[in-house]
């Protein structure tokens, strides 16, 4: 089903109303809902947060748009709360973290698969292997701190194995900056993809930076500090893909289009009818926002929005397991390293690379990600299942 962005006007802004009962709803079930329902909830929280942050920054620089932005942003605020609080209270911070990394793996994989620009695709595949590794390290922490199996959250869709080792991901800031797309030539999907992944990574950075300090265990605190730092690198990486020459109005238009695109993707594939209704409603809200911005764009930038946006939405994101694709990227690219804006095999990194010195220093007092996962191999029912079996059969010698 193609969605015509110019014809579908969605819900008018003045009809986008909330009350507290509407905003705070019954959450999804950690146990019974499909893992991709949780993936969609987390992704859309990230998308809404980016909309909110962008619109605030815009308002700080532009008097003319301030009132328009305030009006749209209030709705985004309530959408974000409603969506994010669909995550249930029986889901621990670490279990939610597993969900965040599943988003990072599966959504980055679908974006990389569909990305038309070869360099952008390469950047997504590069980042994908890093988040994939985070999933493995956090799974080890979940097993070893809370005695839980990360696959209770992942539901078999995503592998729990090392990617590009987190310990090696710490780079000099200059090695996190990438080349940007050209706003005059890039496919609209390239622009929407960049905003989608930027949003997901930004919320992940913010979440880890906030919750990591809530742990008592210094191992957990160190791991969150370490991976939060990589997520900051990812925010730097993904925001540098965006053409800085876009006007603020152009950027606003693209943000609204990204929200339309992602809610549309969620709505099409949602298995929980109650949550599907939310995606449907918010798709309509975002179409309403888009049309407000389209009108403003025509007045302010005096251009045809179709210079920026496609007439109809591109193919939606695929919310499905990308096991084969991820394994293929893992096999062929795990040893790539960033040098400036380019990626080279590990053995071609110059010996005077600033990343080498940075990495050596930050890991000089040990690596949390290596410590937490030392000897860890995922198996169904946690690694204690193997120890329990060994104890039961009297093979005590194999028990640590």
């Amino acid at each position: 089903m193609a969605l015509d962005l110019m014809k579908e006007r969605g819900t008018p802004l003045e009809k986008q109303l909330f009350d507290w009962r509407d905003i705070v709803r019954t959450p999804i079930s950690k146990l019974d809902d499909d893992a991709f329902t949780r993936v969609r909830v987390i992704l859309m929280n990230g998308i809404e947060n980016e909309a909110w942050i962008f619109q605030h920054n815009f308002a700080r620089q532009n008097l003319e748009m301030r009132r328009h932005l305030a009006r749209v942003r209030r709705v985004e605020q309530h959408q974000q709360t409603l969506v994010n609080w669909l995550l249930p209270a029986d889901q621990s911070v670490l279990e939610t973290t597993i969900g965040y990394e599943q988003v990072a793996v599966e959504v980055t994989a679908t974006v990389a698969e569909h990305e038309p620009h070869p360099y952008m695709k390469q950047v997504y595949e590069y980042g994908l292997l890093e988040d994939f590794d985070h999933l493995y390290r956090y799974s080890a922490l979940l097993d070893r701190l809370e005695g839980k199996d990360a696959n209770n959250i992942l539901q078999g869709y995503t592998d729990i194995v090392p990617g590009r080792p987190t310990v090696e991901e710490h780079r000099d800031p200059f090695d996190d900056i990438r080349d940007h797309y050209d706003r005059t030539k890039a496919d609209p999907l390239t622009k929407i993809h960049a905003l989608t992944i930027l949003s997901a990574e930004q919320q992940t950075r913010n979440y880890y930076a906030t919750v990591g300090g809530h742990y008592a265990d210094p191992v957990a605190r160190q791991l969150y500090a370490e991976i939060s730092s990589i997520e900051e690198q990812h925010v730097t990486q993904y925001e540098s893909l965006i053409d800085p020459n876009e006007t603020l109005m152009e950027k606003w238009l693209l943000h609204e289009a990204t929200e339309v695109f992602t809610y549309f993707s969620c709505m099409q594939q949602e298995s929980n009818p109650r949550i599907k209704q939310i995606w449907e409603r918010f798709l309509s809200y975002e179409l309403g926002h888009l049309h407000c911005v389209l009108d403003l764009f025509r007045k302010v930038d005096k251009r045809d929005p179709l210079e920026i946006l496609p007439q109809t939405l591109p193919e939606p994101l695929d919310f499905k397991s990308h096991r084969d694709y991820v394994q293929q990227v893992l096999r062929t690219q795990v040893d790539l390293r960033a040098v400036g804006t380019q990626f080279v095999p590990k053995d071609q990194v110059p010996s005077n690379s600033p990343t080498i010195a940075y990495n050596r220093h930050i890991n000089s007092k040990g690596s949390p990600s290596e410590a937490v996962s030392a000897g860890y191999r995922w198996m169904p029912g946690t690694e204690l299942a193997a120890r329990a079996e060994a104890l039961r059969t009297g093979q005590q010698g194999s028990v640590h």
Binding site: D159, I160, W378
Partner: protein
């Protein structure tokens, strides 16, 4: 709806055998770093060495309290331990009252009441928890300790009870699930009153110990009743006659 009914729980490996097999194969193929959990222990040990405490017990608020503390210290006894544990019980009793308040709300909206539990019985227990808090406030004042301060053990009692609050106030949890949480609270409470009484006796505070024994007898009754209600609910859900 029964909270233990069988439906589409997707968390187990058996729900998706093909995916699980693929995951196990991947885990065999792509190996992680060598070593064991002891690497985590090393980080924990490094931080534990020389770590600051959670906090301290406040200095007594009255001259009598200060004199008592100093006097005991001369004999090698630390009254601050008793104050810390009294503060812990006080925090726990207040929290306990709030747990019963939330449970009462749950009982009132629950579709089918099971067995002998009644709102009156829950209210009775809640009020006894509040009166225990009152007793502890009085006793702490008597010792020259500030009952409004949060002692280190009181703080940790709050940390430990977070899961109980989360369980009982979650609109999705059943009476059975909440009674399980209350059982955990009552088991801890009983054991800790016993400990506190022994501690008071150790300090020669016989009157304090006697007052607390009255509270302990009521707590034993709370535990007995909660166990009974939980059994009734679980057996009813399972379809087993008592």
């Amino acid at each position: 709806m029964r909270t233990t009914q069988t439906d589409m729980n997707r968390t187990g490996a058996a729900t998706s055998p093909i995916h699980t097999k693929a995951m196990e194969k991947a885990a065999q193929t792509f190996k992680g770093p060598p070593g064991s959990e002891s690497a985590m222990g090393e980080i924990r040990e490094a931080y534990s060495t020389g770590a600051d405490p959670i906090g301290t017990v406040p200095i007594p608020t009255t001259i009598k309290g200060a004199a008592g503390t100093a006097g005991k210290a001369l004999t090698g006894q630390f009254l601050s331990v008793l104050v810390d544990k009294l503060g812990e019980r006080l925090a726990f009793e207040r929290q306990g009252a709030r747990l019963y308040e939330a449970l009462l709300c749950k009982l009132e909206v629950s579709p089918a009441r099971v067995g002998s539990i009644t709102p009156v019985a829950l209210t009775e227990i809640m009020n006894e928890e509040i009166s225990h808090a009152g007793l502890l406030i009085e006793e702490m004042n008597g010792l020259g300790a500030d009952p409004t301060a949060m002692t280190p053990s009181a703080d940790l009692a709050g940390v430990q009870a977070i899961g109980l609050v989360q369980t009982i106030t979650d609109p999705r949890t059943s009476m059975t699930q909440c009674l399980q949480a209350i059982l955990a609270a009552e088991l801890i409470d009983n054991a800790c009153w016993e400990l506190l009484i022994e501690l008071a006796e150790g300090f020669g505070k016989d009157e304090l110990a006697a007052n607390m024994r009255v509270a302990l007898r009521q707590e034993e009754e709370h535990l007995r009743r909660v166990r009974g209600w939980l059994t009734e609910y679980v057996q009813s859900e399972a379809g087993i006659s008592p």
